[in-house]
């Protein structure tokens, strides 16, 4: 029975409708185009959250559907941010430098402009030469291609090495974590060519754009929403077809799929690289809204939080990842921002800034133990889709997976 894509994935329409409504609502309430009920900084937070939802989506495809717990996707996210950040920083500095050199009596040569830009950008790390990796920083088009290309190549090489030698399970998780750590440590060096621990800054200013941040933040918000919508459709299409069936089969029993004649390594490599590219796009949209990127963003802990979001939201379903990322990251902002009211117990005052992480850690353990489906499991109550009775037998290697329902689709 051949059903249409939408019929197979009713969540796509619902999600797109909600996303469109949300975007419209935020636009109407914004300071730039609407009545001004939502501050510009909160619009940036919402835009960043959409980007985090996008990378959570990628994480869900690689973990929830393919069963590879990658603790390295934030490395791709950060690399995407670095790639776009290089152009933003170079171009903005160049405009400033050209402006200031125009005051001189003699018009500057191209070489002088480049030297001055180099001095401005790399002065903090005691250098003024442009490293080789900045060769294309003057071209927006090339840097935009590199946003996808550089993390994609890294994922391809790493994935090829890892999958080829049949590293699986926790070994692979640890290995991806090591890769992230290596990248972060490398970027922390001053001579890495990306300004060491200073990172790239001033990314919120678009070169040559004079509009205020009220408008710029909305542009990025729209772009993030569009990327998330597109990403959702892409991921839903990926996991609903034959390709998706093979991915789920690899998750549930890799050896059996290999015996059936599928090239498991190839499937894994493709999905690993593809999700890395999605993560990179999310990063490229995230960091211009954050305004600054530095190697601390890539630290292994960030990727683990990503796994936490997806697990709390409910993995194995795309909307679960989005719910998790949005819910936990917004809640985290609320708690650590000092907005949550303190609780006075009489003998001790619970300050949420201090106790939020304890709460998050413990609730994460509880979710893993008692609600492996995560928040997304609540949707099942509404749609009345329950796990089929297995007469007490185990659901399989992955409780969060919806194998029975998926089979019936």
């Amino acid at each position: 029975m051949q059903r249409s894509f939408i019929a197979k994935n009713p969540s796509v329409l619902v999600f797109l409708a909600i996303l469109a409504l949300f975007t419209l609502l935020v636009t109407v309430m914004s300071e730039g185009f609407g009545v001004g009920g939502i501050s510009t900084s909160f619009i940036k937070t919402l835009g960043k959250t959409l980007c985090l939802c996008l990378i959570a989506l990628a994480m869900d495809v690689i973990w929830g559907y393919t069963g590879i717990l990658s603790l390295g996707h934030f490395a791709f996210f950060g690399l995407g941010g670095y790639m776009i950040g290089m152009w933003l920083m170079y171009e903005r500095t160049r405009l400033i430098v050209v402006d200031s050199l125009a005051q001189a009596e003699i018009p500057p040569t191209d070489g002088e402009v480049i030297d001055a830009v180099g001095n401005q950008i790399f002065g903090v790390v005691g250098s003024s030469e442009f490293p080789l990796i900045w060769a294309f920083a003057d071209s927006l088009v090339i840097q935009l291609i590199l946003v996808v290309f550089v993390p994609g190549i890294l994922a391809l090489v790493f994935g090829w090495l890892a999958f080829r030698s049949r590293v699986t399970g926790v070994y692979l998780s640890i290995l991806t974590q090591a890769m992230t750590l290596a990248l972060a440590l490398y970027l922390f060096q001053n001579d890495s060519g990306l300004r060491g621990n200073n990172g790239l800054s001033g990314l919120q200013n678009l070169p040559g754009v004079t509009a205020s941040q009220d408008y710029v933040s909305l542009w990025f918000f729209w772009a993030s929403a569009a990327a998330l919508g597109g990403g959702y459709v892409l991921c839903a299409w990926l996991v609903s077809g034959k390709f998706g069936s093979v991915l789920r089969a690899i998750r549930d029993n890799e050896a059996r799929v290999r015996f059936l004649g599928y090239s498991v390594e190839m499937y894994k490599l493709v999905i690993f690289t593809l999700t890395a590219c999605i993560a990179a796009v999310a990063g490229a949209l995230y960091y211009p809204q954050a305004g600054i990127i530095n190697p601390a963003e890539i630290a292994p802990i960030a990727s683990i939080y990503l796994a936490v979001w997806v697990a709390i939201g409910g993995r194995g379903r795309l909307y679960g990842a989005i719910i998790g990322a949005a819910f936990v990251s917004l809640l985290s902002t609320w708690f650590t921002g000092g907005q949550a009211p303190d609780i006075n117990l009489g003998f001790y005052t619970v300050k949420w800034v201090d106790w939020w992480l304890v709460l998050l850690g413990l609730s994460f353990v509880l979710v893993t133990l008692f609600a492996p489906k995560g928040i997304g499991g609540l949707i099942d109550l509404y749609t009345e889709r329950r796990s089929p009775s297995r007469h007490g037998a185990d659901l399989g290697p992955d409780d969060g997976a919806l194998r029975e329902q998926e089979a019936s689709q």
Partner: protein, 655 residues
């Protein structure tokens, strides 16, 4: 203060002895002082030299007293006749004067009839140098040691003679050896006789001391010289340079010429820009419109016009640079004129470098061993839980941290460091054992057969524990002080040394290896654990309770982490991030070493320790790069041995 005291002692001694001596030698220091009266009274650092030299070289026994009294600001001049005396305060207005030569008190004088000599710090330093020859033969060994130290810090040619003179009379053997060594070094640096220097260099070659290298290196300092035509006679040439080769580029060479005034200075692009800016006339420079000056070629054209008009210096083009370089020869010349000395010094330094290199390798090996034992300690608990239960415990780092904080808390109650460490080790074991058992009971048991979820759940515990530690102990580092007998380091020579704490950790790691092997091979628990590791279902059907075994092994692994925490806390700062600093390396150790085998963990720890130190040695300025390269190496290593160095074989190796 001490100096004054010593001066007083010397003065007393002088008082007792000098009458006889004065009569015997019949020579007085007062005339010498009088001869230089004007200089002494003027008291200026620049002119005082001859006066001090005259006193010091007088050969009189009183000279030392005079210098000491002078430096201690106890020398007074009687205004009526200008004679110098030792002044001693009777009361605020009156001073008793003592004659330098006779040692007898001349009488008491009111202060206004006297003038105190107050040498400034510069002069006192000069006096101090002059005093060295006396101090080198001082009866007090401390004074001799101090004198030797001051020579070591501030060697001078003038000190060589007094040092040599004092060697024969030195009663203390150790000090005599030290004096002889210093004499050799001073000979290398300052002797005028070339053969003496050569023999001294030969004596000292192969010595590892930093001071030897510090003496030899200045001999080999070179200056970059340039001469027209050929190398001048008498220059001690280290190396002849060819512009454009061996990282000596033409621009540098030409700039050297310009610096020496042999060739006109190069006109840089900055110079051109400035010169053009100064000569703008009606929107153009030298006939070239200003707006078109945004290329180097246009600027050069305008500049050439200006130069032709004589407004600016001529532009030095490539051809001019080449021709100027051709007629001159560039070379590095030693400041030291004698070629045989520089050759000998270079050879001696080369010998020393080789020896230093060997010793550094040894030192590096010791460092690597110590690092490996730390990683072993940190990873062994992880290896147990991973090997036996297939569970990755992300909270392992936090158990290490818990152990370190336990040590800190114990130290708050037991002030004696030795006792507190002895108490802390079992306490830390007990605390983390309990925590591990609780975690296994409450969380891990329910997630069996789902390793990825266990990884995440234990990570949740790790976040919570880390933040909890932050809330309780604050973010600043807490001290966990090692007992006094662990302070210091075992020093083999100037290059090889290792601190006692690191040796203790190495021994601790060995002890743990022994205990672990004993438990695994000789006890009931070990037998059951090995059975469960190989096949839990089969073990269960043999009457072994896998739940109990799992619980105990998890507790054991956690407990060892706690003890590792105490050990690590002794040399690292105890913070809430202590554990996460070691966790990735611990994972690496387990993964590289291979799961389920203690020897694998040992091999993994050794490999990672040696690798990290090795990479750090290649690029010592950058530990970050070292870690990066190490991780990349491990990722590649996993390609070739996916199951680690020592992989389990047979059924146990299954999923």
């Amino acid at each position: 203060m001490r100096q004054i005291f010593l001066a007083g002692l010397a003065f007393l001694a002088a008082c007792l002895i000098s009458p006889d001596r004065a009569q015997a030698q019949d020579a007085a220091i007062q005339p010498i002082l009088q001869e230089h009266q004007a200089l002494i009274v003027k008291s200026s650092r620049k002119t005082i030299g001859p006066a001090i030299d005259a006193v010091a070289s007088s050969g009189l026994p009183q000279a030392q007293t005079v210098l000491e009294v002078w430096a201690a600001k106890n020398m007074w001049q009687r205004k009526e006749d200008g004679l110098f005396f030792i002044g001693e305060k009777i009361d605020s207005k009156t001073y008793a004067l003592t004659d330098f030569d006779s040692g007898e008190t001349v009488g008491e004088f009111p202060k206004k009839e006297l003038k105190q000599l107050k040498p400034n710090s510069g002069i006192r330093a000069l006096i101090g140098t002059a005093l060295v020859q006396f101090q080198l033969s001082d009866p007090d060994i401390e004074a001799r040691k101090a004198a030797l130290l001051s020579i070591e810090r501030d060697p001078e040619a003038s000190l060589l003679a007094p040092l040599r003179a004092s060697i024969d009379g030195e009663p203390d053997a150790a000090l005599k050896a030290q004096k002889q060594r210093l004499e050799r070094l001073l000979t290398i640096g300052y002797d005028t006789d070339e053969t003496a220097r050569l023999s001294a260099i030969a004596d000292m070659s192969g010595d590892l001391g930093v001071d030897v290298r510090a003496t030899l290196n200045p001999l080999l300092t070179t200056t970059r010289e340039v001469a027209a035509g050929a190398v001048p006679e008498g220059a001690n040439v280290a190396q002849i340079l060819h512009p454009g080769q061996d990282s000596f580029d033409k621009i540098t060479a030409y700039d050297l010429l310009a610096d020496k005034g042999i060739a006109p200075a190069r006109v840089t692009s900055d110079d051109i820009r400035l010169a053009l800016g100064e000569h703008i006339e009606g929107g153009s420079v030298g006939g070239v419109p200003v707006a078109t000056l945004h290329t180097q070629a246009a600027r050069l054209k305008a500049y050439t016009v200006l130069a032709a008009e004589g407004e600016v210096p001529t532009y030095v083009d490539e051809a001019a640079i080449d021709s100027a370089l051709k007629v001159n020869v560039f070379f590095d010349a030693y400041a030291e004129p004698s070629k045989s000395v520089t050759d000998a010094a270079a050879k001696a330094l080369k010998d020393i470098e080789l020896k230093v290199g060997l010793n550094q390798t040894l030192d590096l090996t010791l460092d690597a061993l110590s690092l490996a034992s730390i990683y072993f300690l940190a990873a062994i608990g992880l290896a147990i839980t991973f090997g036996v239960m297939g569970v990755i415990n992300m909270a392992h780092g936090e158990f290490i941290m818990m152990g370190a904080y336990t040590g800190y808390v114990v130290q708050q109650f037991i002030p004696d460091h030795t006792v507190s460490i002895i108490v802390a080790i079992p306490t830390a074991f007990a605390v983390t054992f309990a925590a591990g058992v609780a975690m296994e009971r409450l969380v891990i048991r329910w997630l069996q057969a789902r390793p990825l979820e266990t990884l995440l759940a234990t990570f949740g515990i790790s976040i919570a524990l880390q933040q909890l530690a932050k809330n309780i102990f604050g973010t600043q580092a807490r001290p966990l002080t090692a007992p006094g007998w662990l302070d210091g380091a075992w020093v083999m020579n100037d290059v090889v040394s290792i601190s006692y704490i690191r040796i203790a950790i190495f021994i601790l790691a060995l002890i743990f290896l022994g205990i672990f092997l004993y438990i695994m091979k000789r006890t009931r628990l070990g037998l059951e654990t090995r059975a469960v590791t190989q096949n839990p279902r089969m073990a269960a059907s043999m009457g072994i309770n896998p739940d109990k075994v799992n619980m105990l092994t998890f507790g054991l692994g956690s407990g060892i982490a706690g003890i590792a925490g105490v050990a690590i806390g002794l040399f690292a700062k105890v913070t809430s991030e202590l554990g996460s600093d070691y966790i990735v390396q611990s994972f690496m150790t387990v993964v590289v070493g291979g799961v389920g085998n203690i020897w694998g963990t040992l091999a993994g720890a050794a490999m990672i320790g040696f690798l990290q130190k090795g990479i750090e040695w290649m690029n010592p300025s950058n530990t970050l790069a070292a870690q990066t390269y190490m991780i990349i190496f491990i990722i590649i290593f996993i390609q070739f041995r996916p199951r680690g160095i020592i992989a389990l074989k047979g059924r146990a190796a299954g999923e």
